[in-house]
């Protein structure tokens, strides 16, 4: 679905933000991009909808080179939620903001209304439908940005830092939404620093550092490799960090879920009890 072929991107200021990046993301995959501040995640995402075009190398979306497509053409396939939601808003009300791209895509008015209603409800923003997007709280703005993409439901959905500003319940819903979209066959790519969120979502993780991809694999492997993570300023999720402190006692350091960790510790303590009795 997405293919980066030896992509290098240099900002006009001379900063090389992507350095020979090659990667393929299949249709229906769920991917988390992680890496230190300035690693190149946002730059990567901006290449998906053609907002940025490679300085050298090629990006293919659905088999087509993004250099041959306009942002408008690409946006029929790829929807992007920006890191800074403010950058997405330009209309007087929340409702119009969501309806805009749907109308642009040529949906009939009743479909537009239905989709707007549904996505605002899902993101718990109905009560703000007539308000200016700029008068929302930080987390509400991010949810509006998510609602826009949700209503539009393109084949590829890229979300730059979707959990920012969300409380634990909103994150829970977001996680369910991402899983749901993925089940419907959507390709979902998120960029995030939220290791706890990634540990729960368990996607394919692509690790970036200084413009390069340094690792690519299952969340369970990547998130329990402390050394690898520290090379791009990421810490293990709290479960893995805690378990790795206890590795010398024979506990399993390679777990990222609470349930597994508890099971492992309880089994270990039982074992100890037995040896003591024996």
């Amino acid at each position: 679905m997405i293919k980066f072929d030896n992509v290098t991107y240099v900002y006009p200021t001379g900063v090389k933000a992507l350095n020979s990046v090659s990667v393929e993301i299949g249709r229906g995959e769920l991917v988390a991009l992680m890496g230190e501040n300035g690693a190149g995640k946002t730059t990567f995402i901006k290449h998906l909808n053609g907002l940025l075009k490679p300085t050298s190398g090629n990006v293919y979306v659905d088999g087509k080179d993004t250099k041959t497509l306009s942002v408008a053409q690409l946006s029929r396939i790829v929807g992007v939620v920006f890191q800074n939601a403010d950058d997405m808003f330009f209309l007087p009300t929340v409702e119009e903001e969501v309806a805009f791209s749907l109308r642009n895509l040529g949906f009939s008015e009743d479909v537009v209304q239905r989709r707007v209603d549904w996505s605002l409800k899902f993101m718990e923003l109905e009560e703000y439908r007539n308000r200016s997007p700029f008068l929302l709280s930080g987390g509400e703005k991010k949810r509006l940005a998510l609602a826009i993409i949700l209503a539009w439901n393109p084949q590829v959905i890229a979300m730059d830092e979707p959990t920012v500003g969300q409380d634990s319940m909103q994150k829970e819903k977001l996680k369910e939404m991402i899983k749901q979209l993925n089940l419907q066959g959507r390709t979902v790519i998120i960029s995030t620093h939220d290791v706890e969120f990634v540990a729960e979502l368990k996607p394919r993780v692509i690790l970036m550092s200084k413009g390069r991809i340094i690792a690519d694999g299952k969340a369970e492997f990547i998130l329990t490799d402390g050394e690898l993570l520290s090379s791009c300023s990421i810490l293990m999720p709290q479960v893995a960090a805690t378990m790795s402190r206890l590795a010398d006692l024979g506990f399993n350091a390679k777990v990222i879920s609470v349930e597994e960790a508890v099971r492992n510790i309880v089994e270990g303590l039982r074992g100890l009890e037995h040896t003591r009795r024996a």
């Binding site: 830092e161 920012v164 500003g165 409380d167 706890e196 300023s233 709290q238 402190r245 609470v258 100890l272």
Partner: protein, 284 residues
Amino acid sequence: MEIVRVEGLTFTYSGFDTPAISDINLSIEEGEFVLLLGPSGCGKSTLCRCLNGLIPHFYAGKMEGRVLVAGMDVSKTPTYVLSQYVGMVFQNPENQLFSLTVENDVAFALENLGMPRDEIRRRVDFALKAVGIEDLRKRSPFELSGGQQQKVAIASILALMPKIMVFDEPTSSLDPVSAKSIIETIFKVKKELGTSVVVAEHRVELLADKVDRVIVMQKGRIVKDGRPREVFVSEEMIPYGVPVPKVVSMAKGVNRHFKVFNEIPLSSEEFEQGIRRFIHDKVR
């Protein structure tokens, strides 16, 4: 000594009927580290804006009650005076950046205070180093990544070292290593200089064992004000959107089978100690 006092504070943004925050009463001591929690839209940023005078000076609306900072009534004190006592990092830090270079942005407030050159240089160096962006000092703040911009905003406050530091979701865009080290720096500054710190955050894993006090808000009101262990351990706070640190869930899970933890841990370190102590006592 009390440094912040909020009495019967209610604020309604102009054009709206329902107040964003209602009847807030609060007293913060010098050197206290306060975590502000609550669901998205509950009023955390609004309360923060009241502490540094953005409300009522820059946001139109109806304000009742009063806010005293270092003895000054916020609504009667010009913001340039307040800014010497209260520094705030906005939730969306890029709205806070304006200079041509990172370095100038961090130095700006200090220059305004007429601080000597040497002192400014010393503080700017300290702050850039503390957030790990010395290599970006000559860059334009508008040509940085989201997390790098957040670091610039944090550095500006650290350089200023006001008596009260307010951070509105300071770690939201930071990579975990930066988030951890910046929280540790804030903690150190607070301890050494007796600075009061108010942090609004949703990511609590890194803060749970550092803060003195947790205030939980819901629909514009304070619904809980207590010690971190109280707030994070009691299940009654979960419906209020209070996140449970993973170690708390782990410890509770283990305790259902073996009574390992008398006191529920708030960090990996505390969890480790609990397990080791338990095994040690058992084996002997």
